[in-house]
């Protein structure tokens, strides 16, 4: 009986300065019936992970446009492991080359959504990930 709204935390890590994009995504996810925790700009991996753990989200969405994804996201994955919260699924968003996508998925990122992914596709992949996960 999975009638609870899917919980998603959306964070922007790094120095890139605007959040118009993530706000639009946040609204789409809400309109798809999800609870969206938005944490604002310029978050550190430590802040993001502590927030995701305390909020017990299903999905941790990290948007990075600054090009720092290959340092930030592995750090996030490590911190989640440290907290014994690996069952929080990490979805990365932004711009990155194919080889980075492959490398991040190898390390445990569940999905990479490139910057031009339409909102419906974001909703779909989040729903798919949560549906495929064991109850917790």
């Amino acid at each position: 009986m999975q009638t609870d709204p899917i919980r998603v935390l959306i964070a922007k890590v790094g120095l890139d300065g605007h959040d118009r994009g993530v706000k639009i995504v946040a609204r789409c996810l809400r309109d798809a019936g999800m609870d969206v925790i938005y944490t604002g700009l310029h978050r550190t991996p430590e802040q993001v992970v502590m927030a995701a753990v305390q909020e017990d989200v299903d999905i941790l969405g990290i948007s990075i446009l600054s090009g720092a994804h290959m340092t930030v996201i592995p750090k996030v994955l490590d911190l989640l492991k440290e907290q014994e919260a690996e069952d929080i699924m990490v979805v990365a968003g932004g711009v990155m080359p194919d080889e980075d996508i492959a490398a991040l998925k190898e390390q445990g990122v569940q999905e990479v959504l490139l910057q031009d992914t339409p909102p419906d596709a974001i909703v779909d992949s989040i729903r798919r990930l949560v549906a495929a996960r064991a109850p917790r």
Binding site: M1, D4, P5, G40, V53, A85, Q110, R133, A134, P135
Partner: protein
């Protein structure tokens, strides 16, 4: 890649790690409470017995009055004094989609991943009154885990949305300057529920006016309620930008707690909270019992609805007939 799996732990098995302060356990138990259902009840009974030590502070005021920003500052001061702070921030669920945007953390960016400040965002999921159904159980979980105080930010209040006063030991009402001519607490009809009044954003030039107006309002209403015991209702001007007034607010919250402990107030409030939670729990039981989609239920429900639709029987009378069998326990 397949989803990561972790063995599903029973709620009862989460109780010990919660009491030991383990963040993941606290967070997971809160989710279970939000989902509802019977599985979590045993754990909640345990938690309830362990809770009751923390000071529960409600923070209310209209949307945009600066509650979240103020809470962040409060938490930083309380942390600096070595206290572990629990925060529950409630935001409304969209009635259209059933989803929500929980944005209170945006204002709490200075709390840098500190596990001793536990912040939980919670959607109302249709609850009215400014709190979510699970808010107070979540408060108990933080309380039992050793967080003290537990600060509850309600959704922006309007008329009638003042459940927090039934649920907290101390209620802080926040009014901001520049959100219209009236003092928001007056407009929302919540002037009287405050134990402490805050005028936020006092870095703004128009804040002084709000403080003066509010104090004027209070001398009138407090004079009217002269029989109340001697708690001098404070008005604290705060700024989340400069930090002004935040220390004073901490002092006032602690002073109110001490006042309650010194007088019979604390016991009184504890009883008031217990009574209210009893009623809420009973209400929920009844609601579950008579959910429209539930099979069976009270005897002759369809007939009662038919009779009501035909205006032959008043809802009140029908309701009595509906719950009568459940009260006798002869029929489920």
């Amino acid at each position: 890649m397949s989803a990561v799996t972790r063995l599903r732990v029973s709620s009862l098995d989460l109780v010990a790690p919660v009491l030991a302060g383990k963040i993941t356990a606290i967070a997971r138990l809160m989710s279970r409470v939000e989902s509802g259902g019977g599985e979590v009840m045993g754990a909640l009974e345990e938690i309830y017995r362990h809770a009751g030590k923390a000071h529960i502070v409600g923070i209310t005021g209209v949307a945009g009055s600066g509650k979240s920003a103020l809470l962040a500052k409060l938490a930083i001061r309380l942390r600096a004094a070595g206290r572990r702070v629990g925060i529950i921030a409630v935001d409304p669920t969209s009635p259209f989609s059933g989803g929500s945007i929980l944005g209170d953390r945006i204002r709490m960016n200075e709390l840098s991943g500190d596990p001793a400040v536990f912040i939980r965002s919670m959607a109302t999921r249709g609850s009215l009154g400014g709190l979510a159904r699970a808010t107070l159980d979540a408060g108990d979980i933080l309380d039992a885990a050793g967080y003290d105080p537990v600060l509850i930010e309600t959704v922006g209040v309007g008329q009638d949305e003042v459940e927090i006063v039934q649920a907290a030991h101390s209620t802080v009402v926040v009014s901001a300057p520049g959100l219209g001519d009236d003092i928001q607490a007056v407009k929302a009809g919540v002037l009287e529920i405050a134990d402490i009044h805050v005028v936020s954003k006092c870095d703004r030039p128009d804040a002084n006016r709000t403080v003066i107006d509010l104090k004027n309002m209070l001398t009138m209403t407090v004079a009217a309620a002269a029989s109340a015991p001697a708690w001098p209702l404070p008005v604290v001007a705060t700024s989340a930008e400069s930090g002004e007034g935040v220390d004073e607010l901490v002092e006032q919250i602690d002073a109110h707690r001490a006042f309650l402990q010194r007088t019979d107030g604390l016991r009184e409030r504890q009883r008031r909270i217990a009574q209210w939670r009893l009623l809420k729990a009973a209400e929920e039981l009844l609601r579950d019992e008579f959910k429209p989609q539930q099979e069976g239920g009270g005897r002759g429900r369809a007939q009662l609805i038919d009779a009501m639709t035909a205006r032959e029987i008043h809802p009140h009378v029908a309701a009595r007939q509906l719950i009568e069998p459940a009260r006798r326990g002869t029929e489920k």
